[in-house]
Amino acid sequence: MNVYVCILLMSAVTYAIRIIPMVLLRKKITNTFIVSFLHYAPYVTLSVMIFPAILYCTSDIRTAAVGLAVSLVLSVCNAGLVGTAFVSCAAVYLAQLIF
């Protein structure tokens, strides 16, 4: 296999998947079920990606739990995307020094 052919093939497939819905789905949707489905879908996608993966993204479940707790508190307090990301990041870093 040629590596460049592989890379271009990967890119073609991945971008085809990314472009198809943008080009084909252009009508305003009025069906209540589909509107509702698309309303909830982002929350489902993100929730599924967050948990339980967040517990295993550091090498120690205890530091991950600290990060989870801190990010939960900050999100509840509406600390914003960047604030939540950075403070949770710092919390995990510090927790690693302790554990």
């Binding site: 296999m1 592989c6 991945t14 589909i34 599924v48 990606m49 995990v92």
Partner: protein
């Protein structure tokens, strides 16, 4: 580009800064995998530039390293990246139906888990927003991959750990505030996390990408059936 377009491009660019840092740290590992599979620094970073998809690249690198076939590459990319089809559909209906095709395709660049996350809370969605996010995040991903190959060591583990968690923290900051205001969203979030955990512990063979696709369809359908929203979400916040 109108004034609004430029503003949204800049906003997407700035919002994606934590993504830049997270990608930079995580893609070191992709670079190391690539080097071990025999790819050059240019090939590895070219791959990152052309794809910006972590799981897809890791799978492809493994296939290249083990001397697999083009068919395997093709099938692995479809299976792993199928979730982008769903994410694309979610964002596509948020755009103005009259939006020009080339502008809609700007959104395609922003179809990574993290930029999708940022874009999913933009109502209405301007296509330059996700493109701005990609302009910030993609260099982090490509540069991290390049350095991973060249340096051939991971970033210090404690730095990678902290930055990986920051991406999940960003997801939390996107999901929790709307859940606080809307009990139906809160319930959807809890059910999704519980279902995801159940899949993780009881169906270990299910890949993360497939899990996202199956659960997004399943749980969103349940939520739509039990808690229908009447107003279209294309232009504004849906009203129950």
């Amino acid at each position: 580009m109108t004034y609004t377009d430029r503003k949204e491009l800049g906003k997407g660019f700035r919002d994606a800064f934590p993504v830049f840092l997270g990608y930079f740290a995580v893609s070191f590992t992709v670079g190391i995998n690539a080097k071990n599979a025999g790819l050059t620094a240019f090939q590895a970073s070219f791959m990152s530039f052309m794809n910006t998809t972590s799981a897809g690249q890791v799978a492809a690198i493994e296939i290249i390293g083990s001397g697999g076939s083009y068919l395997e590459i093709l099938l692995s990319q479809i299976a792993i990246n199928l979730r982008y089809l769903l994410m694309g559909a979610i964002l596509s209906v948020r755009l103005d139906p009259d939006e020009k095709i080339w502008r809609r395709i700007l959104v395609s660049f922003g179809l990574t888990d993290e930029i999708f996350a940022l874009s999913s809370i933009q109502k209405p969605l301007n296509p330059w927003y996700p493109f701005g996010g990609w302009l910030m995040a993609m260099p982090g991903w490509t540069l991290g991959t390049l350095l991973g190959v060249l340096v051939n060591t991971v970033m210090p583990q404690n730095v990678t750990n902290a930055l990986s968690l920051s991406l999940y923290a960003m997801f939390m900051a996107i999901v929790i505030p709307p859940a606080k205001k809307d009990l139906k969203i809160a319930l959807t979030v809890v059910v999704s996390m519980a279902a995801s955990a159940a899949c993780y512990y009881f169906i270990p063979g299910l890949s993360a990408g497939m899990k996202v696709v199956i659960l997004t369809i399943g749980v969103s359908a349940l939520a739509a059936a039990f808690f229908p929203v009447r107003e279209a979400v294309t232009t504004g916040e849906a009203k129950a």
